[in-house]
């Protein structure tokens, strides 16, 4: 039983690694910054006395994805649960004027996720077991001028996961879409909002439970499902005039 967490230097991913390691599973954490991933793995190992390995994962090195997954399997065995926690919010403004910047955001948040998920799906289907967890965003539920490059990539990822879930259902492979609202991470640090911000460790516990409960689409904090259903219900003729 092993758990792969990609994008391990995010606080949520770090906390998730704790949850699985303290539950007795072998964890492999990977990130573009391999040193940082190693620090996360060390922390998980010291605190839980469990097994946590680490390695380098470059989301946009599509050609290297297969070899990367092979190396993970060599270290911790077949991947039971794979969590895609990597992402890059980019800079909306920069993405508007510079296609390369926009493409980078799309590649990290969407293209890379497709590449990795297809490889994972192939091996999990073969074993007729496994769970793929994709961390998408409420930003993908409706396009807004303030972050539509990132939002569209996350939205595409959610749509992709929906299709994958449909395809893998009969193979017994679980696919879960996580849509996170405000979490107290680097992304929201310094944000002034009246909406409560969730603590990363609470988020990790919720995702851990939802994954084990084989949930399909999971909003956290839960009230974001309500917020987004209202946001989605606003007629486009009105929505286009808003500055959200």
């Amino acid at each position: 039983m092993s758990v792969l967490i990609l994008g391990a230097t995010s606080r949520i991913a770090h906390e998730l690694a704790h949850r699985y390691a303290e539950n007795g599973q072998s964890v492999f954490v990977a990130a573009r910054d391999a040193d940082e991933a190693a620090r996360v793995a060390a922390d998980v190992g010291v605190r839980t006395e469990g097994t946590c390995a680490s390695g380098r994962f470059d989301a946009t090195d599509f050609a290297g994805h297969a070899a990367f997954l092979d190396s993970v399997r060599e270290t911790v065995g077949p991947i039971e649960v794979a969590i895609l926690a990597f992402g890059d919010m980019g800079d909306q403004h920069a993405s508007e004027g510079d296609f390369e910047a926009a493409r980078h955001v799309i590649d990290v948040n969407y293209t890379a996720a497709v590449s990795i998920c297809e490889l994972l799906a192939a091996s999990m289907t073969e074993r007729a077991a496994g769970s793929i967890v994709g961390i998408a965003s409420v930003a993908g539920d409706r396009g807004r001028q303030s972050n539509y490059i990132y939002g569209s990539a996350k939205g595409a990822f959610a749509l992709y996961l929906q299709g994958l879930r449909n395809r893998l259902f009969k193979s017994g492979v679980h696919v879960m879409t996580v849509k996170l609202g405000f979490v107290d991470t680097r992304m929201t640090y310094g944000l002034k909002t009246g909406i409560p911000i969730a603590a990363p460790d609470a988020v990790s516990r919720a995702i851990f439970d939802a994954q084990r409960g084989r949930s399909d689409v999971f909003y956290y904090p839960h009230f974001w499902r309500g917020i987004m259903s209202v946001v989605k219900a606003i007629p486009e003729a009105a929505f286009k005039r808003l500055s959200l």
Partner: protein, 459 residues
């Protein structure tokens, strides 16, 4: 490109006085800390951990403050020797939570578990075991420090010893502590064998203290309101980690605090008059009388023994919006206890009560520099901010402490005058020379440092 976001934020210490606005970042990766120093744009920089310094030690006006709370990775642990390598933002609470079940305890703990190891080194914190184990830094063999020129320097007793010496108790002004190696102590279980003894006056406190050397942990609550023959009465607590096979339970308050932190909380400011001379006197009387004459032996969990106030979250709000401070000092041993008596008399005469007062005799170990612990009796007194009368009283206490050859604790201070401070620490010029050599441009500053001329000059 730097990935730090700098947010305008108002910060304060545990005493909630003073409150200062700064540009604040909260790095989560090591590289982001290095970036924080690089993109300071000429502003001075300071680290901020869990904000348990009482005064202005971790505050910096018109500067950049780096929150270390997310730099909290435990990097390595050797169960054979107890050596733990961890990042600066790891808290003692996390260490306790992780290692007590494995039979290890932090070598030194203060009165709260909500401090980071970085802060513990910068303040060279002490605990109830100072007379046996010295201060926190006595159990540190290596500190990784981000210094002013952007380099990461490893220092310790055997490596860059001068930098290490100045960093211990150096109030964060030699650089930004990134990680450290500290040695945890072995324990058999979470319990403490405790004896509490009602002491009827100051004389008896010193008698009991003198015969308690075989206990690893000692401290005494002090009634600093009652005068006359009962001056210095209190309840002396002494204890040691319990041997294998001991069992016990948590106190009611701790259990409640664990089950429902929101219940045992002080979520709003108390009214400013809540802690005044009359209520404090009444509390002291009840607290003292509640303890039977003589001695009581018990087995207690480490939480109520070491961290009784942690059970009440935000207890600092009890003092109201005005905030409070702690006056903590140590004076050299003196058989007549003249300075201690003068201090207690001065407080009584002022009519300003201290709600929480503790007394303990420190041991011989002393780090030097501007680190606080030194041999002799130490007293800590909490006071609600009461304007000029309080500051006048503290000036008079400074005089007594200074005349006795003592010093105050910077970790609790927000008001000591610079000329007084300079006389309290004879090694200050040496400390400053080392600090300035590593940070000639005064990159690392704090309100406390500016006030006392440690870094950043007069303001």
């Amino acid at each position: 490109m730097s990935q730090n976001r700098w947010a305008q934020q108002t910060l304060w210490g545990w005493g909630r006085y003073p409150r200062v606005e700064s540009l604040v970042a909260r790095p989560e990766r090591r590289k982001e800390v290095l970036d924080a120093l690089a993109d300071r744009q000429g502003d001075p920089v300071l680290a901020f951990g869990l904000g348990r310094c009482y005064g202005d030690a971790a505050l910096l006006r018109e500067g950049r403050v780096v929150l270390t709370r997310r730099l909290d990775r435990m990097l390595a642990f050797d169960p054979e020797t107890g050596w733990l390598r961890c990042e600066a933002g790891v808290s003692l609470e996390e260490i306790l939570h992780t290692f007590v079940p494995r039979g290890f305890f932090p070598p030194v703990v203060p009165g709260t578990q909500f401090v980071t190891v970085g802060g513990a080194i910068a303040c060279d914190i002490h605990g109830k075991n100072h007379h046996v184990d010295g201060s926190f830094a006595d159990h540190i063999r290596r500190v990784e420090l981000l210094v002013a020129d952007g380099r990461v320097v490893t220092c310790g007793p055997d490596e860059e010893p001068e930098l290490f010496w100045a960093t211990v108790g150096g109030m964060g002004l030699t650089g930004l502590i990134l990680s450290c190696e500290l040695q945890l102590a072995r324990i058999d279980n979470p319990y403490i064998e405790m004896e509490s003894i009602r002491v009827e006056n100051l004389e008896q406190f010193f008698e009991v203290s003198a015969e308690s050397g075989h206990f690893t942990h000692t401290v005494s609550w002090l009634d600093c309101v009652t005068t006359g023959k009962a001056t210095g009465r209190g309840i002396f607590m002494r204890g040691r980690h319990a041997p294998a096979g001991t069992t016990g339970g948590l106190s009611l308050l701790s259990r409640l605090g664990r089950a429902a932190p929101a219940l045992i909380n002080f979520p709003v400011d108390g009214p400013d008059w809540m802690l005044n001379q009359a209520t404090i006197k009444a509390f002291n009387e009840v607290y003292f009388r509640k303890h039977p004459k003589g001695q009581v032996n018990s087995i207690v969990h480490y939480e109520p023994f070491f961290f009784p106030l942690d059970a009440v979250r935000n207890w600092n709000r009890m003092y109201g919006n005005r905030g409070f401070l702690q006056y903590q000092f140590v004076v050299p041993p003196d058989p007549s206890h003249k300075a201690i008596r003068l201090v207690l008399e001065e407080i009584t005469r002022s009519g300003l009560g201290s709600f929480l007062a503790v007394i303990k005799e420190f041991g011989e170990r002393q780090h030097g520099g501007i680190s606080f612990p030194a041999p002799g009796p130490m007293i800590a007194l909490d006071f609600g901010i009461a304007g000029q009368p309080l500051f006048d009283l503290l000036d008079r206490l400074d005089r007594i402490v200074l005349d006795a050859g003592g010093r105050i604790y910077l970790g609790k201070d927000s008001r000591v005058p610079r000329h007084v401070f300079e006389q309290m620490f004879p090694e200050l010029p040496k400390w400053k020379a080392v600090r300035d050599a590593w940070d000639p441009g005064h990159v690392f500053q704090s309100e406390l440092g500016r006030r006392l001329g440690l870094s950043g000059g007069q303001r």
